[in-house]
């Protein structure tokens, strides 16, 4: 008798009673830029929780940000061979070690945990699709073992073996809501179809002031998140004493289903049920609106249904230059005027110190990286002595290669003549004894380079000066 009841529960009366439902599992914007189309993947579930296979395109309405769009493409039964990501979440609280009716027992075989483990192993054994991935975590007062999603089912089996009964009452609480948040958050970043299978005896029984979860998450928010990121939660209530109502509401709000079992074999069909349900999807595409939003809401509904059978999702649609302003003002063009003035200023104005007087200035040297202030040669007939002597007119310090009075520059009217006192003096990289200096000549003394400049007024003064004595 009991078996019959369970079979009925599993295959016909999935708790609580379903209404018809549309579940958007993915909104793909990848061809938006190419042909302006948005692609939507969704499933349509009948009031028994089974996928409807012959949905008519004409019964569908698509809205983007409330604006009705034309469906340009419609397909059913797509991606039947695609992989699913199954994340198994196992309640490891104290009550999981009671028997099916909720009475304490030391008979391991009668404990809910034993059922749960057998159920999971049975589920794993049904997985045949090489693209599927499985992951696992357990929880009680805290999150226990975590096995990340991988295609290696053996890892989940090993983790399962390592799930041990909590030793203290402190460790035996059921942080169900936090476990839902944690697992949803964990798998939300994965691509493709994501399913969480939650096995529990059903009560959210949090520990007060739990150090593990200082920040509490509302279950409704977690489920909203699950819907947004296409994570369906399938809940499995272990034993008749389980809080099936609570678990059923979790699964329903996330687009999954609830099963109540008190015999692990009852889950024989679970995997194929989920596969059929998850992958028996429809596909449609429609042209996106041109309004600029960072994200756009997409709503699909069945025309004329009461209450409205619909589902909503969103996709990323930000434009590289962002959203438009509320109102456009031609005053903004003032920026162009300002910019043109700036360009004109840059074209015409040069800020520089005009060199008027004749100078000698260091270019680069061992003792000074920066340029010293130019040294002015003023007096006619008075020599300018350059050397490492502190008494020289231009002293080159800390350079042993430079003699006390290495060179002198004498001025007669417009003519400046350099006379070298030692062979380390070069003008324009050439060794010289004496030379009439020209504006721009480089005088090298030891490691120091000096630039001689007659100054602008003299140099640019007359064309007749342009015939220069050749060396």
């Amino acid at each position: 008798m009991k078996k019959v009841v369970c079979a009925v529960i599993l295959f016909f009366v999935i708790v609580p009673c379903f209404a018809e439902k549309i579940i958007i599992s993915q909104i793909d914007n990848s061809s938006l830029l190419v042909n302006q189309n948005v692609q939507v993947y969704f499933s349509f579930i009948d009031d028994q929780g089974y996928p409807v296979e012959n949905l008519n395109k004409d019964k569908l309405r698509v809205f983007e940000n409330g604006v009705n769009r034309n469906i340009v493409e419609f397909k059913s039964k797509i991606n039947v061979n695609q992989g699913i990501k199954l994340f198994i979440v196992l309640d490891n609280s104290g009550s999981m070690y009671d028997d099916a009716s909720g009475n304490a027992t030391e008979d391991v075989q009668a404990q809910r945990m034993t059922y749960a483990k057998k159920a999971i192993l049975s589920l794993l054994s049904q997985i045949k699709n090489p693209h599927d991935k499985t992951g696992f975590m357990s929880f009680n007062t805290s999150i226990g073992t975590i096995e990340e999603l991988s295609s290696d089912n053996v890892r989940v089996e090993l983790s399962l073996e390592n799930v041990k009964r909590p030793l203290t009452p402190e460790q035996s609480y059921t942080e169900l809501n936090e476990a839902v948040y944690f697992s949803v958050n964990r798998v939300s970043e994965q691509s493709g179809r994501k399913v969480i299978i939650l096995l529990s005896d059903g009560e959210n029984y949090p520990k007060k002031d739990n150090e593990e979860f200082k920040q509490r998450h509302e279950l409704s928010n977690s489920l909203e998140l699950a819907r947004k990121y296409g994570v369906s939660i399938y809940t499995i209530g272990l034993g008749l004493g389980a809080d099936n109502r609570y678990l059923a509401s979790i699964s329903e709000k996330s687009g999954g289903s609830h099963f109540q079992i008190d015999n692990p074999e009852e889950l024989d069909q679970l995997y194929s049920f989920i596969r059929n349900r998850v992958l028996n999807e429809y596909y449609l595409s429609y042209p996106a609106t041109m309004s600029s939003e960072d994200q756009k809401m997409v709503r699909i509904e069945i025309a004329g249904s009461t209450p409205v059978v619909q589902d909503e999702g969103s996709y990323f649609s930000a434009m590289v230059f962002g959203k438009p302003t509320q109102e456009f003002s031609f005053l903004l063009f003032g920026a162009i005027v300002f910019a043109l003035l700036l360009l004109a200023f840059l074209f015409f104005v040069r800020l520089k110190k005009a060199v008027k007087a004749p100078t000698v200035q260091t270019l680069s040297s061992a003792w000074s990286k920066g340029k010293a202030e130019p040294m002015t040669i003023v007096n006619d007939g008075q020599d300018m002595i350059i050397g490492n002597d502190a008494g020289a007119d231009l002293t080159i310090q800390d350079d042993n290669e430079v003699s006390m009075n290495a060179a002198k520059i004498s001025k007669k009217g417009d003519v400046f003549t350099l006379v070298a006192e030692d062979s380390s003096v070069l003008i324009n990289n050439q060794e010289v004894k004496s030379k009439v200096l020209r504006s721009g000549d480089i005088i090298t003394i030891g490691n120091t380079q000096l630039v001689f400049d007659k100054g602008m007024t003299k140099m640019m003064g007359s064309k007749t000066k342009s015939k220069r004595p050749k060396k």
Binding site: S292, Q295, A318, F321, I336, G440
Partner: protein, 297 residues
């Protein structure tokens, strides 16, 4: 103009370019819903923006060299390559933004703090790369192309990042776009100048006269110098410089100076030459002007 002033000037020109681009972009973005689809919109918005940037940086040599000839010369090619680069860059940037953004869209924890700004920045960097390349292609200089690519990428990335973070302060996007485009221009300009300075391996430093202290980077395969503003280095304010006086050719790692058959001659270290391989520290005389040849190793 010294290298530092050159960078400042390029930055300011970039700012002006960004300011010119801003109202035009506002106008196009405001009328987004008029466009049939995202592709056409991206191409139009991108080519307009690209033309402003292309022409703006196209006139930069003219502004810095105070040469109307170069100013005018830079415009048509700047417009043409800018339109192409801007359209491709915006389309690519939009694709990158959608691709990355959609990935981060599914990571609720990261999306607004990091994912969205990062995606936008990469999108803008993509745009910046194309805009930066315009000047290199326009002037047919590989080094400038490389400089533009690097400068554009950095400028675009930071401009896009600023755009996102300004938006947190001023939710109205036009303020964010003003700052974002302005910074994009400034950074492309500065980065262009900086990278140009870092990557060029030789220069001529002017030792005397009205433009004393200017440093001219030898970034082209062939750099010409003469009195004419049409030459790469135009010495309009010096005596005895002929229309086209010398050219410096880069052959592998060396720079060869050739006199263009002038009457007044060309001197290296006070020796008159027709052709000479230059070495670091050589003093060049062309008419009244004396340069120091600087080689970076």
């Amino acid at each position: 103009m010294s290298l530092v002033s050159r960078i400042v000037y390029l930055g300011l020109i970039g700012l002006a370019v960004g300011l010119i681009a801003w109202p035009l972009v506002e106008l196009v973005v405001f009328n987004q819903s008029v466009f049939p689809n995202m592709m056409v919109f991206s191409l139009v918005a991108g080519s307009i923006l690209g033309m402003v940037f292309g022409a703006g940086f196209g006139i930069s040599e003219g502004i810095i060299g105070q040469s109307v000839y170069k100013l005018v010369l830079g415009v048509p090619m700047g417009l043409l390559f800018g339109a192409i680069g801007g359209a491709l860059g915006t389309l690519g940037g939009q694709a990158v933004l959608l691709l990355l953004g959609s990935r981060f869209f599914n990571t609720p924890n990261l999306f607004y703090s990091f994912g969205f700004p990062f995606s936008r920045s990469i999108g803008w960097a993509f745009f910046g790369v194309f805009i930066g390349a315009v000047e290199g292609i326009r002037s047919r200089s590989l080094i400038r192309l490389r400089n533009g690519l690097i400068g554009g990428a950095i400028g675009g990335f930071l401009g896009g990042l600023l755009f996102e973070y300004i938006k947190l302060l001023y939710p109205e996007a036009y303020i964010a776009r003003l700052f974002g485009l302005g910074l994009l221009g400034v950074l492309i300009g500065i980065a262009y100048g900086l990278v140009e300075k870092k990557l060029s391996d030789a220069s001529l430093y002017l030792l005397n006269g009205p433009q004393k202290g200017s440093e001219f980077l030898l970034t082209r395969q062939v750099t010409t110098l003469g009195k004419s503003a049409k030459e790469e280095i135009g010495l309009t304010m010096y005596n005895d410089v002929e229309e086209k006086h010398i050219e410096i050719t880069k052959v592998k790692d060396s720079f060869i100076l050739t006199d263009a058959g002038t009457k007044t001659g060309t001197f290296v270290n006070d020796d008159q030459i027709k052709k000479r391989k230059l070495k670091d520290g050589d003093v060049l005389r062309v008419g009244d002007a004396q340069f120091q040849f600087r080689r970076k190793f």
